[in-house]
Structures are given as C-alpha cells and as structure tokens.
Amino acid sequence: MIRPHDSIIVQTLGRFVIPVVQIFGLYVLFFGQYGPGGGFVGGVILGAGMILSVLIFGHDASRSQYARNVLHGDGVGMLIYAGVGGLCMIGGGEFLNYANLDIPGLETASRRSLGIVLTQIGVAVDVAVTAVSIVFSLSAEEIMEDSING
C-alpha cells in the first residue's frame, strides 16, 4: 500500500506538475504524426503522470481515483487497436490497411492519417494501463502473500 508523501513541497508541486505531464503526454501522442513521438512514448508519459499522482497523494486519495479506475481498462487499448484493424477488414482491405477505413468524405491520405492516430491512441492506453498496473501489483503486499500461501 502506498501512503501519501508527507512533504508539503512535494504535494504542492505535484498539483502543478501532474496536469502538465498529462498534457505533454497527449502532445507527444498526437505529435507522433509529424515528428518524434507516438503511442508508446505518449502512453509512457501518461502512465508516469498517473504513477506520480499515486506516489504523491497515496493509493486511496481522491486524486488517485483516476489511476485506480484505469486498471479496469486492461484490454481496452488493444481492443481499440484491433477494432480499427477489424474496420479495415470490413472495408474490404487487409487488417490495418487504413486506406480501406470506410469513412465517407475523406481522401485516402486522410484516412491513413486518421487510422494511424486511432491505433496510436490504442497503444498509448495500453502502455499507460500496463505501467500503472505494474506499480499497483508491486505495491500490493497483502494480495501477494495471500496468493503464495493459498
């Protein structure tokens, strides 16, 4: 179990830094279209922001609510990824061939761009969830002992 950090400096700074980290994560995720960045790095930064809030405010705090809820999204990121791929297959192309995404009013180039953004969002969600769940399973001592004794 992770307890809140007792330093007022850390707590106050955390309030300012965490939203900035999250926004930077989103920026990196979407900037991946045009330069260095993308789903994996963006997901790591988003996950790091949530881990930071758990480390500063503790496991039970209302500010960590978001990180706790994220854990239920185990397969959601992969589902977004595979869902986009499946839509391409329904559109008549190969799996993940974004040119076949059936969206009226978009040219092929825009379809490819949209498709890659959607899959990158899926990757980001998955990486963030994995990062948070690693921290939670490492910090949950009592659950571990139960499973070894049982």
Partner: protein, 489 residues
C-alpha cells in the same frame, strides 16, 4: 472473403482474449461460454480455410497492405492449414475440459485465466502462420509467457516448475533471436520467402552456420528435445489439471513445426555444411531423444510425469520422420505429429479425470480406476494402443510411414530406434495396466459420483479421434503428400 481467412483465424481468439476483461468485468461466469464459443467458431473457420487452401492453393496474406520484403506476411499453405485444424480442435477440447476442473480458488482472476488460454491459442496460430522469422519469435514469446502464467496458477510446486520453465524458455527464445539476428546480418531480410532467394550464395558464411545452430538450440529447448528437456516433465506434472492437456498436445509440437518450417522452407533441406548434412544431425538427435525419453518414462511412477516423458520420446520419433529427407518420411512425420498431439491430449485428459474423480496421482493408485470406471480404463486402453502403435490406431500408420521413409533413406539406426522406443512404450504401458488390474490394489473409498459431462465428452472425442485417424490414415497421408510437402522434396 476467403483471402481474409488466415487473418480471421488469428484475430478471433485474440479479439476474444482482449475483450474478455472488459466484457466479463461484472459477469465472471461468462468467460467459460465465451471461450468455448470462440474456439468453436475457430474450428469451423479453420476447416473452411483448409478447404479453400486445398481447392485454390496457398494463401499469402500481407498485413496492412505493405508489399512482401517490408510487410508482415502470413503464409497459409497446406501444412499450416492442416495443423490449424488440429490446433483449434484441441484448443476447443482443452477449454471444454477446463470447465469442470479449473482451480476453484481463483475468484475474479478466472477471467484472466481464460484470457491467457485464448491468448495462448492465438499465439500458437501466429507461430504456425508466421511468414517471417522475427514474428515467429514474437509469437513464441507470447505463447511461452502465457504458458508460464498458466502453469504457475496451481501454486506450490507449480510455481517452482513454472519459474524453471521461464528461465530455460527465455534462454531458448534469446538464442533463437540471436540466431535470427545473425541471419539478418548476413541476408538483410527477415521474410522467409525472400531469404530463400538470397541464401544459396551465402552457404560458406560462418555467421549463417552460427545463426542456424543458435536457432536450432533455441527451438530445441522450446520443443523439449532430449538434452534440453529438463523443464518439461515438472512443468506439465504440476500444472493445473485443466492446462496440462493443452500444453502437452500443442506447445512443443508447434515449436517443432517452426523448426521444420525453417529447415525445409527457408534453408534447403539437402544442404551440407562442413561435410555434415544438417538433416542427418536432426535425425540423429531424434534417435537419441526417442530412446532416452521412453527409457525415462519407464522409470516414472507419477502418472503425468510418465505421460510427459512419453511425449518427449514421441518428439524424437517425429524428428526421425522429418529428418529422412524423403516424401514418405516427411508425410509420416507430420501425420505422426497429428496423432501424437491427439494422444497427448487424451492421456492428460485421462490423468486429469483420474485425479479429479478418484484422487489418482501415481500408478499405484490406479487400481481404484480399474474397479470403479470401466469406461475410463477402456479409453486408456485405446490410447495405449495408439501410443504403442498397434494397427487400427493412427499411431501405427504414423510409425509405419516413418519406418518406410527411413528404409528408403537406408537409415537402419533410425528404424531400430523407432522399434526400440515402441518396445519401451509397450513396457511402460504394461506396467500401468498391471497396476490397474492388480487385485490387491488399495481400496480407498473416494466419493466419485458420476463423471461430469465435459470429462466424458473430451475423453470420448480424443479416444474416437485416435481410431478415426487410423481408419482414415490413407486419405490424410495422401492429402499431406499432395498439399503439405515442402518445395523441392
């Protein structure tokens, strides 16, 4: 639509696996019917795919439309499609069996348990279809990681066995990856069909030989070939009853399939490196494996341990068939692989039922089964006939073609090894039946009740399949000869 079938086959269990935690968040008992339904659909799709491949030739599927040396390719040829039917059918039976035996104390984690099983099936599908060496590695790892977790579920000694499997399995995967990187350094490509064009000019390269050896050792650990087999018996013995059948019937066989895809499809099987034909090396190691595996099985008293060593010896027999370098031997080897997968599944189903219903762990307790469950004993007799290789069963015809192939190649040591391992197999089944029918067996009153339906179904189907594979061995081997042979054999 039909050109999408290979991708659908892979995506079906993957989709089900990743949506399981979300769908079953509130209703954890849905996970079992969802898994069964998914795999049932997968069996149907795999049969459609096999028909399609037989009538229209092999299907090459390129993900996201990139052309071949760059893109990721799925190759659904005859061999892969036949194996896929086997894989999905045995996966379905394994999951049906799981319904009555899954560990009780899992609670909410039961959802993740089924997720891992489906993930294992989709990863094995990926290994069978993979058209490039690196993706083969990726799916080997996904399959291995799911197996470690599934073995460890039982807790206690299973954790130790799973950790040992993890250490050796990771070593194997790393060696395989090292071999792939050597080959990549020499040829500059990872795609198998692209590599075929580039290899003939590079056979003198030392990096190529090194890469081939690393890949072989890596896959030999995965397929539990004899010097590298030490992780297998304990892992399969202490794994949960419901998991051992899937692992024993599929995981090692698919690694074996990956090896002969590399050796026949990527390299030319007849190549000679430093005066040593590589196929002879494979056949020689198979000869060792089959004799040593069967001898070790004879020494066991634990039921699952005995079956696990039996599986190790059969890996050797398949390698002998594959290693002869002629059509008869190859078709015999693949046909024996099909049979062996079914027999291993059946034997571990038997061990699971015997443990769950009658508390049988070692062969000394088997007397209880003989008295109380004649049908169970009947199915064991059929499986024993198959393992030993007596006529109406598929095991006989598999060994028959392998021996014919070995005679054709003039490889009499291999023939002797197959016969010797047959005798040893007969010996350990005689030992087993002696315990079943011995009158002075310990009578413990185990409240058994009726055997649950999933147990009857899975045991019945595998037992029938052993006979059916034997009765239809002619058409099946003909099918393999027509559609599943590697180029240039």
């Amino acid at each position: 639509m039909s050109h999408q079938l290979p991708a659908i086959l892979f995506l079906l269990p993957l989709f089900a696996a990743i949506s399981m935690p979300v769908v079953c968040l509130k209703h954890r008992h849905w996970s079992y019917p969802i898994s069964v339904a998914t795999l049932a659909v997968m069996v149907l799709v795999s049969i459609l795919n096999l028909q399609n491949v037989i009538h229209h030739g092999e299907v090459r599927y390129v993900f996201s439309g990139w052309t071949v040396p760059l893109g990721i390719e799925w190759v659904a040829d005859g061999l892969a499609s036949v194996i896929l039917v086997l894989l999905s059918a045995l996966g379905l039976l394994g999951v049906v069996f799981t319904g009555s035996t899954s560990p009780k104390d899992l609670g909410g984690r039961i959802v993740h348990y089924y997720t891992l099983i489906l993930l294992l099936v989709s990863a094995l599908t990926g290994i069978v279809f993979a058209g490039d060496l690196f993706n083969l590695f990726v799916f080997l790892e996904v399959a291995a990681i799911s197996s470690y977790a599934l073995i460890g579920v039982a807790g206690g000694r299973a954790l130790f066995a799973a950790f040992r499997y993890l250490v050796l399995g990771t070593l194997g995967a790393s060696l395989y990856l090292l071999g792939v990187s050597y080959l990549y350094a020499v040829t500059g490509t990872l795609n198998m069909s692209d590599m075929v064009d580039k290899l003939p000019f590079l056979l003198s390269s030392k990096a190529l030989v090194g890469g081939l050896i690393f890949m072989f050792i890596g896959l030999a650990i995965k397929m539990a070939l004899v010097p590298f087999h030490s992780w297998l018996p304990e892992a399969y013995t202490y794994a949960p009853e419901s998991i051992s059948p899937i692992l024993a019937s599929l995981v090692t066989k698919v690694a074996l399939l990956a090896w002969f895809r590399i050796i026949y499809w990527v390299f030319n099987a007849s190549i000679v490196i430093n005066d040593i034909p590589i196929l002879l090396l494979v056949a020689a190691l198979g000869t060792l494996a089959t004799v040593i595996g069967a001898s070790l099985a004879l020494a066991q008293r634990d039921l699952k341990m005995m079956f696990a060593y039996g599986g190790i010896s059969h890996i050797g027999i398949i390698l002998i068939g594959i290693g002869q370098g002629n059509q008869t031997g190859f078709a015999g080897g693949v046909f024996y692989l099909l049979n062996d997968a079914v027999m291993q599944a059946g034997l571990f189903f038997f061990a699971g039922v015997a443990f769950c219903q009658y508390g049988v762990r070692t062969i000394d307790d088997l007397g209880r089964v003989g008295k109380q469950a004649p049908w169970l004993t009947g199915s064991l007799i059929v499986m024993a006939l198959g393992m030993v290789g007596l006529p109406p069963t598929g095991g006989f015809f598999g060994k028959w073609y392998i021996i014919l192939g070995a005679l054709e190649a003039g490889n009499y040591v291999s023939v002797a090894a197959v016969l010797l391992s047959t005798l040893l197999t007969l010996a350990y089944f005689v030992k087993l039946f002696e315990c079943i029918f011995r009158q002075s067996s310990t009578q413990l009153d185990v409240q058994s009740g009726g055997i649950p339906f999933p147990f009857k179904l899975t045991l019945g189907v595998t037992t029938a399949a052993i006979i059916i594979l034997g009765l239809f061995s002619g058409p099946i081997v003909q099918l393999l000869l027509d559609h599943a042979l590697p180029p240039g054999l």
